[in-house]
Amino acid sequence: MPKAVSEPPAGEKLASSTTAEDAAVTLRAAAKAVQAELKQRSVGATGAGKSVLEATALMAADPMLIKGAVKLITNNGTSAERAIWESAASVAEMLHNLGGYMAERSTDVLDVRSRIVAELRGVPAPGIPAADEPFILVADDLAPADTATLNPAIVLALVTSGGGPQSHTAIIARALGLPAVVAAPGVDDIADGTSIYVDGAAGSITVDPDADQVAAAEAWATTAATLAVFSGEGATADGHLVPLLANVGGAADAVKAAAAGAQGVGLLRTEFCFLDRDEEPTLDEQVTAYRGVFDAFPGKKVVVRTLDAGADKPLPFLTDASEPNPALGVRGYRTDFTSPGVLKRQLAAIATAAEGTEADVWVMAPMISTAEEAADFAAMCREAGLKTPGVMVEVPSAALTSESILGLVDFASLGTNDLTQYAMAADRQLGPLAALNTPWQPAVLRLIQLTVAGSVAEGNNKPVGVCGEAAADPALAVVLVGLGVNTLSMTARALSAVAAVLATVTVPEAQRLAAVALAAPSAVEARARVRAELPILDELGL
């Protein structure tokens, strides 16, 4: 993936050898070229993607945008690159100030701008490359926005030099079922067009693979297809039920998850309703959005996580982008301290949506750090008429005080991605810290064990589930069951793999493997030793 397009220096003027007319001609040609490329892409696209590409294609050669730039070239002697940069900036600002739908299009204008500048510089256009043949994508790291343009029919695997096992790239890869290797320094040096073999399970990349590896890649594709079917009931070999649920981000996800056999929703990320907005969504908008998910799971459990904004999910009307340490800042439940009312209204919307559907709606708050917060949240839920309040355990303090917290709420759900980040004091997005950011770290497993112990001590068997990426790792899922976790919630794609592996171990075996993992001297050893005792993993190519 090409590097992001850098801003042309402020005040850059035309080169002495270029006249204003020449620059204007070059700019128009570049804009037309970008327009043609986007138009071509739109032909192959469908649905919402198609409309966006068609509209952006028109924007590329839009008279308002180009005339603005040509004016700067002619009147101020500005260089073509700088002129389009500034013209697009003011158009984007104008759209942003209109608010609502128009404001969302301002990012499209900036994307078009990057493409025109790239064309002027003669470098590849930014973003995921378009291609006719399937390819393996190599990048520094991928952003949540890249998921929209990533076509799993064309992209075979993901390789990044940055990121870590719980970064966005890893999440996208899991969601799309793509092999991936992250935090792989040096991959930037692999030339375009080189043949490589990516083994996601082993975490290795081989340049110029041999015939055996080519065969293995083909075999995996067949197994992955057969593994796609989940019977709909998660259980161990000795019949202990382990409900397998799905993590979803909206109604479309929920419908797919239900089709994939998910036994419910273990994590409904409600941010989808709030992201990219200038203001809080209305009660009606929220009710419709949540109902769409509830209606996909009649008679089943749907666990709603209240708004989790902040850190890598900023919301302009709720979180402060100037915080020095966003991961340690006002995020999740804490936004209720600085912006009271939003949470209350969200709970009312959830309650309204829950009436008149047949789903069993549970609600949990993210980033709960103390028993006092848990009590306050439970009170807010009761006031809204929600019967089953719970908390996410992702702040280590909650894991360590789970007994008193569970005395105040009905369930806990471990958010292992952030729990790992906080326990190991390692930013999820930094490549150099990737080795620390794995839930296989013995300290993290210990915190999970302690959370379960708290529930046991509390005496009412209140369920403890896992909804972080850890649940999607079949070998780790066995360890979690061995540690006493009651339910696992994951991307719908992982359901059948996890079910297949769980079905090969009894509860005592799972407990023994959990002990093996806890006793291991390192995360790498823990993973290796557990995997060594699960031959099904090799058989299924997991």
Binding site: A55, L58, D62, M94, L95
Partner: protein, 92 residues
């Protein structure tokens, strides 16, 4: 100068798909067409072939806009554009 008014029929107003269809239709003509909200003065009229201008116009469902063009075939051209605006393009 030929002039026609049209009431925006697209459910969500003149944006994205409807705006793109309209802007492309204007672009295909040989004439320069301007567009303005009925309430705006003629000098503020914008280039109807510019999707960005259309978006900034913010014409919502039910609002009336004025299209202006000059030259051979201006009347017929404006008629066809009015037809586009008065079709609910969101319905596709």
């Amino acid at each position: 100068m030929s002039e026609r008014t049209a009431t925006i029929a697209s459910r969500v107003g003149l944006h994205a798909r409807p705006a793109a269809i309209f802007a492309e239709a204007v672009g295909a003509l040989d004439l320069e067409v301007t567009i303005a909200l009925e309430s705006d003065p003629a000098e503020d009229a914008m280039d109807a072939s510019s999707i960005l201008s259309l978006m900034s116009l913010g014409a919502g469902n039910g609002q009336v806009v004025v299209l202006r063009a000059e030259g051979d075939g201006a009347d017929e051209a404006l008629e066809s554009l009015v037809k586009i605006l008065e079709t609910d393009l969101d319905a596709e």
